[in-house]
């Protein structure tokens, strides 16, 4: 079969990364059938010349195309188009993996994929935002299982918004942080990622602007992008989101604020009580709804953080997302959304069309555990252990990295947000570290631009293993980079 001829070139001025433009172009040609199956591609050298790009950019694109099965490389015969009907369909699922035009930022998809892939078998996981398995409260669960074993008489679909007993427990739980609500204003979701997902597809018009702290939670960025929104990063100071730096939306523009006011992920910054009041007022003046992500609300060290925005929301402006993933067990896959009634009703309706509700079993077990008088004791112990691990992690960092790293001591959450000296190439360090089975999260995946940060989780691994991970990273830094 004849070799393909190419007369296209990527647009180097465009916001879309070059390799992504190349991938898109190939996908388009193959999906349209312009390049039939079995057609021979020009050599890598010729392709790089034609596109005016360097080999490494080209190879990134070719690897991605190969990963989705659109091209294959045969020793001897070079690369051929191998897209079949499935893979060319795959190629057109534009909404999800393609990084959208929101030109402001370029998430590091390569790093993210590696993290997802390695997360389950990596030897030392400084990347993992989960409670340590050692902190799992076996006794609480054992009691809940025993109780259910005695009393469970069926396991059918639940009420659309979630099991009432659980929503009651959550309403009670939220009172402790100052949120007065009732079961009718609560929707149970499969973790708070699903809640964000539901809100995005149910409440965001296309091209809505999402104002969000920069840096912020990487997975929410993906969800927002998939909903075709425009992301606008807002800088933070040590009091939280510097909202006055937003360009206010025009009256006919739909805009929403997404914030993690308490133990922002990844920075650990806690929005002060004053800033919370100011932000609420600003949002109300500009008719900006707020999505408050409170995933880390309960994982403070020594003193409770300021009340959630939702606690002082008098206008119904705030949609609050809570989760049990950080303070108990992510494997339950349970989160909750608190909002005004029409919002909850709408989300519930969409939710029923998506997956028909969260696991009834998870809901029942969590309702048992939240009602258990020992839950408070467990929480207090969990926090004490976490605080000790945070202190120990910082002592380790000071010891090994004192010369080239800086960070703010966190007062809660799971992470150290560490700035490394400029002479350390973080993408390269990331690749070197994964080769040694040490995983950390490069700061760039949280941000709207490259930066010199890494996010280290002190929560998941024991302090001993945290130290071993830092030792390996230290060795890699010293061997490969120099001031």
């Amino acid at each position: 079969m004849a070799t393909i001829t190419i007369d296209w070139q990527p647009d180097k001025a465009a916001a879309v990364p070059i390799y992504q433009q190349i991938t898109n172009y190939f996908q388009h040609q193959i999906a349209r059938g312009d390049w039939p199956m079995g057609a021979q591609l020009p050599s890598q050298r010729k392709l790089a010349d034609q596109f005016g790009v360097n080999r490494s950019t080209l190879i990134t694109a070719l690897e991605e195309l190969s990963a989705v099965g659109l091209i294959t490389s045969n020793p001897g015969s070079g690369m051929v188009v191998s897209g079949n009907h499935w893979s060319s369909l795959l190629a057109e699922h534009v909404d999800w993996t393609k990084y959208v035009k929101a030109g402001q930022f370029k998430p590091n998809s390569h790093a993210l994929q590696k993290i997802n892939q390695f997360e389950t078998d990596a030897v030392i996981r400084l990347s993992t935002g989960e409670p340590a398995p050692e902190q799992f409260p076996r006794a609480l669960f054992k009691r809940a299982f025993a109780h259910l074993g005695q009393n469970l008489t069926s396991l059918n679909y639940t009420e659309p918004a979630g099991i009432l007993a659980l929503r009651q427990q959550i309403a009670r739980h939220l009172q402790k942080v100052g949120i007065q609500t009732q079961p009718a204003n609560i929707l149970i979701t499969s973790g708070s990622l699903q809640a964000l997902q539901l809100v995005s597809v149910s409440l965001f018009p296309k091209n809505a602007t999402i104002y969000t702290e920069a840096p912020t939670y990487v997975k929410s960025l993906h969800v927002f992008q998939s909903a075709h929104t425009r992301l606008a990063g807002v800088p933070m100071d040590d009091q939280g989101m510097a909202y006055w730096q937003m360009t206010p939306p025009t009256p006919d523009q739909h805009a929403i604020i997404y914030s993690i006011p308490t133990f922002n992920n990844p920075t650990g910054i806690v929005m002060s009580a004053t800033r919370r009041q100011q932000l609420l007022q600003y949002a109300q003046e500009h008719r900006l709804p707020i999505l408050e992500d409170a995933a880390y609300q309960d994982v403070w060290f020594d003193h409770q953080p300021p009340q959630p925005l939702k606690a002082n929301d008098t206008s119904g402006n705030v949609i609050y997302f809570g989760s049990i993933s950080k303070s108990l067990a992510p494997g339950l896959r349970i989160g909750w959304t608190v909002a005004s009634q029409p919002v909850i009703d709408r989300l519930t309706d969409v939710r029923m069309q998506t997956d028909y509700g969260a696991s009834s079993l998870s809901q029942l077990v969590l309702a048992e555990i939240l009602a258990d008088p020992d839950y408070e004791t467990y929480q207090a112990h969990f926090r004490t252990v976490l605080a000790a691990k945070a202190a120990r992690a910082q002592a380790i960092l000071t010891h090994y990295w004192g010369d080239f790293a800086t960070w703010q001591a966190p007062s809660g959450g799971f992470y150290l947000w560490v700035r490394l000296a400029d002479w350390i190439n973080i993408p390269k360090l990331f690749d070197l570290a994964t080769a040694q089975n040490v995983l950390f999260n490069p700061g760039s995946i949280y941000d709207f631009q490259p930066n010199q940060y890494v996010r280290l989780s002190f929560s998941y691994e024991s302090s001993e293993r945290f130290e071993r991970g830092i030792q390996i990273l230290t060795r890699l830094i010293k061997a490969n980079f120099h001031p």
Copy 2:
């Protein structure tokens, strides 16, 4: 505030239902801010005159607008615009609740909403496609809980595709129906509705054509519509989908077949072994992927149905969806997708961006139960009870409805697909029945056109309650309709 002036009229020739056009128009005006909050609407009579529609159409539209909070009706002062920034966002979530242009059919949204709303408190649920609570195998669950209570040491996120032990059990389970597969080709989802959802957003290009049996599973229709696909109903004969009646797709058109070959929901039709072979061959010749929905695979009465399409799929053409919702417990929210590796990888990736996996707890419990030697005994007993309920339900129908109803005896599944005589107005019967707290599913919600069918579930309610429901319906039919 001044009354709104309207100079627009619905397009009666358009495929979009009139009431929907009116709803869209209101949403648009309010979202744009053309009609400010508090603005007074003209009276219902004036609106109906202006639009040139009858009152009932207008009221359908106004009820929908009122339900999403865009308008409120104040006694004395008539209707006013009450949309705020949330509700006008709600109004623009075009993808989800709006019934898409796929002009071929008009799902009965009114009936569906009522069913969802009443489903949990209705007195007699002849609509419910779930196993009877009495059939819940308490002993199996109790044993699984006890085992987990002893052995569970953490409950974190699982492998992206689902817990390996569960995928192994499912691979073993699938061997019994002739599917040879391995854990790497299996993705665990939160029920099979989520699997359909994932496939839709991951693999369907916009405007792909979905060929599907008519009638078919109503919730899948919604999922497909939300993915902006075009639905094309294919008639069935007693051997299953009459695939030769499809208009074959043109070469540049993406098209997919969605089929429930075993105990089609709602009709109960089982595709014959010969037809399965023919359909596979047809699909391969036309390069049409097949989505095989096997939710009812395990709920046969006297003899096992023909092997799934997937068992004889030599080309990787078939994506198979299984579920535990019909044969064990829908509240676990566990389903599985079996497909070729690139498809599983892609779905897994999208899935991780959506909700980060199914409940680990549900997965662990199900893995325990599938591995329990008593599971087979439970299944056999479940089928015997179900078959007896099906027989009893038919005896009841023959007794009460023998004069005006016909149906085919099912050989598995949960439903009787009953044709009522033409003189019975089914939408009216539905409304009368819900007022008496009896729920059934009108056949029109499964079809691409109005029809004279109702779907009655004999699975959920006891035979005594089934009979009581039929007695009430009989009374309503005799009092309100006449040959």
